[in-house]
Symmetry: C2
C-alpha cells in the first residue's frame, strides 16, 4: 500500500521521498544510496575508473584491508615505532612496496638512507673520528690528520682504534645507531614525552650524522644509496629538500653549493643511466628558518643564481626547521619578494602549518605561503583550521605534502585516523603522500607512509583508485614541466600496468 | 620608489598587488590583512560585535589564554584526568564557571551528579545493600527485606553492617567510588589501554550506580542534585537523554516510564520555582542501540505516546550505547519511520559519528541521522570525514553536540587540539559544547568542557565572541520553540550582562 513515488533528487533540497498516503516522508533507500555514492566519489581517487584487472586487484586489496582493520592492534592507531613490525609483516605492506608510487616530493637530503648503512658501512671506513658531546650526542669527522678538538666535545677517537679497544663492538654500534635516528625499541612515549624533546633529539641526530655525510666520498655514495632505497621501494622520482651543505675532503678542503648541486646532478644522471625506469631527481634548496634576514636574503640570492645555472635539477626554494620556534614566513617577506621584484623565476615549496598552535604568528605561515605563490605546501597539518587558506590551496591547486609518520613521531598526532589528511582525502583536496625523513623514523622509501595513509586515513572507504590517484598526484603536483610530466606518467603507467597484472590474481595456488 | 597600486581585491583571483616598476607582483600587506580578518570572521563568534564592557573582558580573557598557552603542560594536550587540577586552578576556569553558558544539550540521566554525593550521601542511607560481581564490579539495591541474590554476584551485604565491620571505611568508600566513575588518579593510559576496556568499564559503572539511582526517593533527589550542580555552574537549561528506567520502591513495587517522566517534570518545576533564573529541562527518551528491532519499535511507540502526553517536557527520541558495537541507525529504519508514517511528530536527536572507524555500516550513521531529519547530532566526531553529511548538517542547521572531554576519555582523540571541532569552529559549523557524562569523567556541569573547547580548539584565535556564540547556540539549537527561545535568550542576556559587568575590570585592586 505504501507506494513510493520516484522524484527527481537534488542534494540538500529534496531529502525525502513522499509516501502516497498522507503526503508524509521517510528516507528513500535509493536517494540514500545516491548520497553514499556521491560522498564516495568525492574522495581522492573516487572518480578513478578501474579496468577489469584493477578491479580484481582492488578486491584483493579490500580483503587485505579488512584484515588490517580487524586486528586487535590497529597499526595506524599505534606509534609507528611500535607498529613498524606489524606493518612490515602485513601482506598489505608487501603489496604497497611493489606498487609504483610515483614520486616522493617531500624528502630531506640527510635522512634518506637507512641508518644501518651509515653505521655498518660509513663509520667502518678508515680515518673516521668520533667525539662525545656534553649533550649526550656524538660528532664525526674524516680527516687525514688528527682533527682539531670541537668545543663541548670529548677528545676525538679514531673509531678504528676505539673499536679495537672495546669488548663489544655491537654495543658501540648500537650506541652510535641510537644517536643517528629517533627510532627506538623503548617506549617512544617515555623517550619523547613532548615536542621539545623530540625536536631537540631530531636536530641532534642531524648534527651527529653531519660529519659522516658531508665528507665528499660518502656524500656521493649516500645520495646514490638514497636513490637506490627509494628505487627499490618503487619510487621513480624524487624532489629533495637540500641544505647543499659545505662538503669537505680528507685534507680539509671544502666545496661550494654549486659543486654540491652538480654532484646531485651527476649522481642522478649516473643512477638514471643505470636504471632507465627511474625518472630523476630535482633539488629544493633549503635554509634554516631560525636564520636572520640577511642569511635568508643571501640564500634566496644563491637560489636564484643556482636556478639560473642549473635549471634542470633546481626546483626551487624552501625554509626548514621547527616552525613553532623559527621565524614566520612573513618575517622574511623582503627576502622572499626578491625574485618577483627582479623578474626572476624562483618557485617556492614552503613548509607551512606543521604546528598545533593556533592564532600565533607562525600559524599564519599557511596563508603567507599561498600569498607568496608557493608551488606546494610542506605538511600543511594546520590547514583544516584555516578555511581561507584551505580554499586558496584548493582553488590554486597547491598540493599538500602529507607525511603521516613524521607528524606522528614529531608528536602532532597520536592516532593517525585523527590526522587532518583523513578529512582532506575525503574531499579530494590536492595532496601527495611523502616520508619527510624516513631514516630518522626507522622507515624507508614511501611504503610505510602509504600504508598509514591508505589504511589509516580512508579506512574501508579508500581503494585502489585512491592509491592510483595518489601516485598520479605525485607526478601532476611535481615541479616537472608539462612535457616531463607526460613522460613520467607514461613511464609510471607502464610500471603500474605490470604491477596490476602481476598482483591482481593473488599469490599462485592461493585463490 | 615602489609605489603600490590599490586594486579591488577578490579572494582567490587577485592575490597580488602589482609593483609599478615592471608589472611584477609581491603580496600586498593590506590584502594579506583582509584575508586574515576574513578568516577570523568565519569562525564561531567571528561576527559577534562586542560592546565596550565586553571588549574589556575580552582583553582579560586573551591575557588569561596566553598564560594557559605558555604553560609547559598545556591542559588540552593532556588527558583530562591529569589536566583536571591544572584546569580547576586556572583563572580561566574560574571565569568560565561564572559565565552564563546557556544550555547543556547533551547530558545523560545517570551521570549528571558528582559521584561524591552518591558515595557520601546515598550509600549511607539505611537499607542499602551491595554485592560484588565476578567482573570486579558492584551492584546496589535498597530493600525493606533481605533482597534475592543476584546472578554472578556475591551474597548481599547490608552496607551499614559492612561499614561497621571494616577497619577503614574510607578505603571502602574509595573502592565504591572507583566503581562508579572512570575517573582515576592512576595513569589513565595504563588503566584504559583501548576503547574496548574503557567502554566496558563505562558500562559497568552505569550498572553499578543503577540500583542506587533508580530507587524512587534517591531518583528524585539525584535529579534535583543534578540540576543544582549545573545551575551552580551557571547553566540555565538542560536537555537530558534519559532511559526512563523502571524506578522501584523499598517494598519492590515499580513505576512505569510515564511516572518517571512526570517525576522529571515535577522536580524541574520545583527547582525552577526555587530558582527563577533557571529556565528548565526537557527530556530525550533513549533506548540502547544494542537492542533488537522489536524493542526499538516498542520504544518509538512509547516515545510517541509520551510526546503526546507530556509535550512540555518531552523533546524527542535517541539511541544510546557504543556505536561501533551497536546496530546502525539504518538497521532500525522501519521503527524510525513510524512517526512519519503515522503523521506523528517525534523529533530525533541521534548520536552519530562517535567513531573512528571509516567505511563501516556504523560510519553511515551521520548520513542516516540527517536523512531521518534529526534535530541535532550527538557528537558527530566523524563528520569532517563525511563531506556530504557535513554539507547537509550545515545547510539544514543541524548542530553537533560536541563533548570534548568525553571524546578524549573514551579514546577517540588524545590531544584535543586535534579534535575535529577545532576545524568545525574555524568555519562556524553549527555546534554546541556539552559534557555528556560529567560524573563519569570526574568533571561537572559544562565549565571543564568549555575550557577545553575555548583553550584547545581555538587557540589564541577564539575570544569572548566565540564564547557568547556558543552560549547563544545552546539556546538557538535547543528543542525549545521560538517563543520559549526568546524568553530563554532574554533571561540569558540579563545574566550575561551582569557577568560582563562584574568581570570586565578584573579582580579589585589587581588592575
Amino acid at each position: 500500500k505504501q507506494l513510493m513515488l520516484d522524484r527527481p533528487l537534488v542534494a540538500g533540497v529534496c531529502l525525502f521521498m513522499c509516501l502516497l498516503a498522507g503526503g508524509l516522508c521517510i528516507p528513500d533507500p535509493r536517494y540514500r544510496e545516491s548520497l553514499i555514492q556521491e560522498e564516495a566519489s568525492m574522495q581522492t581517487g573516487g572518480q578513478v575508473v578501474l579496468n577489469e584487472k584493477e578491479k580484481r586487484l582492488d578486491t584483493r586489496l579490500l580483503k587485505m584491508k579488512q584484515d588490517e582493520v580487524a586486528r586487535a592492534d590497529f597499526p595506524p592507531a599505534m606509534h609507528f615505532f611500535k607498529a613498524r613490525d606489524l606493518i612490515r609483516n602485513s601482506p598489505m605492506f608487501s603489496l604497497l612496496q611493489k606498487m609504483p608510487k610515483g614520486g616522493a616530493l617531500h624528502v630531506h637530503d640527510l635522512a634518506m638512507v637507512d641508518i644501518e648503512w651509515l653505521v655498518k658501512n660509513v663509520t667502518y671506513r678508515p680515518l673516521c673520528y668520533m667525539c662525545f658531546t656534553n649533550t649526550q650526542s656524538i660528532r664525526f669527522i674524516f680527516s687525514s690528520q688528527w682533527p682539531e678538538p670541537l668545543p663541548n666535545c670529548s677528545p676525538w677517537n679514531l673509531l678504528e682504534t676505539l673499536r679495537a679497544k672495546v669488548v663489544n663492538t655491537t654495543d658501540l654500534d648500537n650506541r652510535i645507531r641510537g644517536k643517528l635516528t629517533l627510532f627506538t625499541d623503548l617506549d617512544p612515549e617515555k623517550v619523547y614525552p613532548n615536542q621539545d624533546v623530540v625536536w631537540d633529539r631530531f636536530e641532534q641526530a642531524f648534527m651527529s650524522m653531519w660529519g659522516l655525510v658531508t665528507y665528499a666520498p660518502v656524500f656521493r655514495e649516500y645520495f646514490y644509496q638514497g636513490l637506490t632505497e627509494f628505487y627499490k621501494d618503487n619510487v621513480m622520482y624524487l624532489e629533495v629538500r637540500a641544505l647543499l651543505p659545505e662538503i669537505y675532503e680528507l685534507d680539509g678542503r671544502t666545496h661550494d653549493k654549486a659543486w654540491t648541486l652538480k654532484t646531485y646532478q651527476d649522481v642522478t644522471r649516473q643512477f638514471t643511466a643505470e636504471h632507465p625506469d627511474f625518472f630523476g631527481t630535482r633539488i629544493i634548496l633549503t635554509v634554516h628558518r631560525g636564520a636572520n634576514s640577511s642569511v635568508v636574503t643571501e640564500a634566496v640570492e644563491e637560489a636564484m643564481k643556482l636556478q639560473r645555472d642549473f635549471p634542470d635539477i633546481m626546483a626551487g626554494f624552501d625554509l626548514v626547521g621547527r616552525e613553532d620556534v623559527g621565524r614566520p614566513l612573513w618575517y622574511f617577506r623582503d627576502a622572499l619578494s626578491l625574485p618577483t621584484e627582479r623578474g626572476v623565476e624562483l618557485p617556492f615549496f614552503f613548509h607551512a602549518g606543521e604546528t598545533d598552535l593556533q592564532g600565533t604568528d607562525v600559524d599564519q605561515n599557511l596563508l603567507d605561503a599561498l600569498l607568496f605563490n608557493t608551488s606546494r605546501i610542506g605538511h600543511g597539518y594546520a590547514l583544516v583550521r584555516h578555511p581561507v587558506a584551505k580554499e586558496l590551496s584548493r582553488k590554486k591547486g597547491v598540493a599538500l605534502e602529507v607525511c603521516p609518520i613524521s607528524n606522528q613521531v614529531m608528536k602532532l598526532v597520536t592516532d593517525l585516523r585523527n590526522h587532518p589528511a583523513a578529512a582532506l582525502m575525503s574531499e579530494n583536496h590536492p595532496l601527495v603522500i611523502s616520508s619527510d625523513d624516513p631514516a630518522m623514523f626507522g622507515a624507508s622509501g614511501l611504503s610505510y607512509d602509504f600504508y598509514e595513509a591508505f589504511v589509516g586515513f580512508g579506512g574501508l572507504r579508500s581503494h585502489l583508485g585512491s592509491l592510483k590517484a595518489l601516485a598520479i598526484n605525485s607526478i601532476r603536483y611535481s615541479s616537472l614541466n608539462a612535457s616531463q610530466q607526460e613522460k613520467a606518467l607514461t613511464l609510471w603507467q607502464r610500471r603500474w600496468d605490470k604491477f596490476v597484472s602481476e598482483n591482481g590474481l593473488g599469490p599462485k595456488h592461493h585463490n
